[in-house]
Symmetry: C2
Subunit: 423 residues, 2 copies
């Protein structure tokens, strides 16, 4: 008797390479003789509404696989949906396993971060309770790099490369205008609790760029007064000062800097309390305290979506990790997450491993304090040595008419009733 089917879903915030993992799942499943690969639309949330596709309707050849590897965001759609505890609501689990049986699913792969690994853990636990035969495997993904056990997460390297490149370009731009005037640039980077991405901005430092002058991670308490003093001090030595801050920096009392304007009763045109961004707030402080020109730059969703500048290491690892999930299940593993083990830094080598998902779920890996300098305003050489290999190499986008081509699902051409592409 042949093998059954694989079900794969994407969950949580998108990255530039989450679809590369999807491509890896699909390709390895086909190579290992599974019958079909179904994709959940919008993760477990859409799946509960019986929204799924047959991947083969969309990924028809090797070119499609290469396009998928270069397409940002979640091809299948994503969700933020937390499964209840099993004892709280068994009905949801019964519904899911009923659908799994209906679709003859043997392998369930979920690509995501901490919350998604929690989903894998719960589904696996439920399968133990009921003796269900499906294998549940987690595929790590997050730009934040805050998953435990794995050396790093797919998605981090490409975001780090985009952030380092953009920081370099913003610094270059600011220097052009620096004659006889002072200028302070504050760049805000994603990562509420973990400063991996913020620290990666310092990779811009090199022979052709001084890099940022100050880098503030959320791991260290932030003082607005100390920040202002540090900027003043830097401005005595140079005309352009660039500070990079995490969106999640907060005071020793635990108050987020981005909440500050709200605290001082700033209201918008409608009387709402306004959540001014961290960089925007600090830029205003510097302008008031020092009087020089300032500019706040937010990289926004671009830092997780800029597939046009993804790292080759990252795209390839995401693909391999996706494939490794199917391999792990095929070899009998369940309730596990695939992790990346670093074998060496230079030359960089890595392999995949498999870990019990119970050891991973809901843990959060932050930057070790010893990888941040004593003053708490820069990262160490050890930090940079850790990140540097992950931004190497370039996956050329497939340019069509001057723009990167993506593989996307045109849901209007899809017949949900019969689960068939209409085209």
């Amino acid at each position: 008797m042949g093998k059954g089917n694989v079900l794969v879903g994407q969950s949580g915030g998108p990255t530039a390479v989450i679809n590369s993992s999807l491509a890896g799942v699909f390709k390895t499943a086909m190579e290992r003789g599974y019958n079909k690969v179904y994709g959940m639309r919008y993760g477990i949330q859409g799946f509960l509404d019986e929204q799924y596709i047959d991947m083969a309707d969309y990924v028809k050849n090797e070119l499609d696989i290469e396009l998928l590897k270069r397409t940002p965001s979640a091809f299948l759609g994503t969700c933020r949906y937390k499964l209840p505890e099993i004892h709280e609501d068994r009905a949801v689990y019964e519904r899911i396993f009923e659908l799994l049986d209906k679709l003859d699913i043997e392998v369930f792969v979920y690509i995501g971060g901490n919350d998604s690994m929690d989903t894998i853990r719960k589904l696996f636990d439920y399968s133990l309770l009921t003796g269900a035969k499906q294998k549940f495997v987690g595929c790590p993904k997050t730009i934040d790099n805050d998953l435990a056990i794995t050396d790093h997460t797919p998605g981090f390297g490409s975001a780090a490369k985009y952030i380092a490149t953009s920081t370099k370009e913003v610094i270059c731009d600011a220097l052009g205008f620096s004659y006889k005037k002072k200028n302070v640039i504050i760049i805000e980077i994603m990562g509420r609790n973990a400063g991996w991405l913020t620290g990666a901005s310092a990779l811009s430092k090199g022979e052709d760029c001084e890099g940022p002058d100050l880098v503030y991670l959320p791991e260290v308490p932030f003082s607005v007064e100390q920040f202002t003093d540090s900027v003043k001090e830097k401005l005595e030595q140079k005309d352009v000062v660039v500070a990079v801050v995490s969106e999640g920096i907060r005071t020793a009392e635990g108050k987020y800097i981005c909440e500050f304007t709200a605290g001082s009763e700033t209201k918008d045109a409608f009387g709402h309390i306004q959540m001014t961004g961290t960089a925007a707030y600090l830029s205003e402080v510097i302008h008031r305290e020092i009087g020089c020109k300032t500019r706040a730059v937010e990289l926004s969703t671009l830092q997780r979506a800029a597939a046009h500048l993804s790292s080759k290491i990252d795209v390839d690892e995401a693909f391999n990790v996706g494939g490794a999930t199917v391999k792990a299940a095929d070899e009998g593993n369940s309730g596990v997450m695939v992790v990346i083990d670093r074998i060496s830094d230079d030359p960089y080598m890595s392999s995949t491993g498999v870990y019990d998902v119970h050891r991973i779920a809901n843990g959060e890996k932050v930057v070790p304090r010893e990888w941040i300098n004593e003053a708490g305003d820069y990262v160490s050489e050890e930090f940079l040595d850790y990140v540097r290999p992950l931004i190497q190499g370039h996956y050329s986008p497939m340019m069509v008419a001057g723009l990167p081509r993506h593989l996307t699902m045109d849901s209007k051409n899809y017949d949900w009733i019969n689960n068939k592409n209409i085209q």
Copy 2:
């Protein structure tokens, strides 16, 4: 007797390709037998302080020329400095021409936008008054594409390519999260009076992307109420609505949208009136009126500095236009700007021409009303056909250690007194 020297400067806002024009000036000057090419530091402002370099100290070989073509911002530094009228202050002109004589300058090239062409005009006029022999030639540059006579300006194509790519990636990212919830994204683009760049976001529309739903240029009066109604209407048809707005949109009465919160007495934490960005303001309006999730995305200085995604057409044209300035001067022209003439759209072909700078200076070219739809919320096919050729082709960055390498001047290693590189 051999030829004298060339002096070149950069002025106004930087672009991703302004250094490609600088490379073109340098290379053509060397090929045409000029002795030296001096570069003004920080435009005419730095030059008045005798800040200049010998380009040969920094651009030593063909690799440096290629690096310079890929380096964003102004290699020499730039300024915003308006020369007085000749009758107002002759002393400034006497000082400039004294320095030109001292450095044996035969050709003066200024790379910039409208204001810089005004500088060329004034210096040329002064040379007519005094019989000075130097040739003054303008080299067009601006991401805003608002210079008259020339078909388009170097710098525009690369910014347009970056904006279209980023718009596509932001849309892709937003679609991933669209299950059972509405989401409105508002992207803000540079260009205070001319909507060329804002309109270029619509190039993202194609087989794999629906593009933005609404595009607002500063050429058409903007109504916040009409905007809100249009977003509501779109949200009835789809879950994710993306609007792209120029930073310069204003009401029929001429009030900038970004001034709105100030007008309604929004104050920041320090009691300052706050200039909230256009997208941030509109995002707040939509959140209040419709209640759905919204996000404001500003591309900030990245749109003029993202050399890693520059257009090949643009980099090559910038280089050629730079070379054409020296050629024009060498053939006896002065008081002129080099322009780009479009010969055909498809296949795209262009050539350079030379125009009297008096016809160009201080003019501003905006998007013709007939290239914007009647409702004033999208650009026409004619607009897109005009822009599309300019974003074609890709100049691969020279990647070193995973990041684009730039050619930059390390001013600390420069001896200003003897105008010599110390290294």
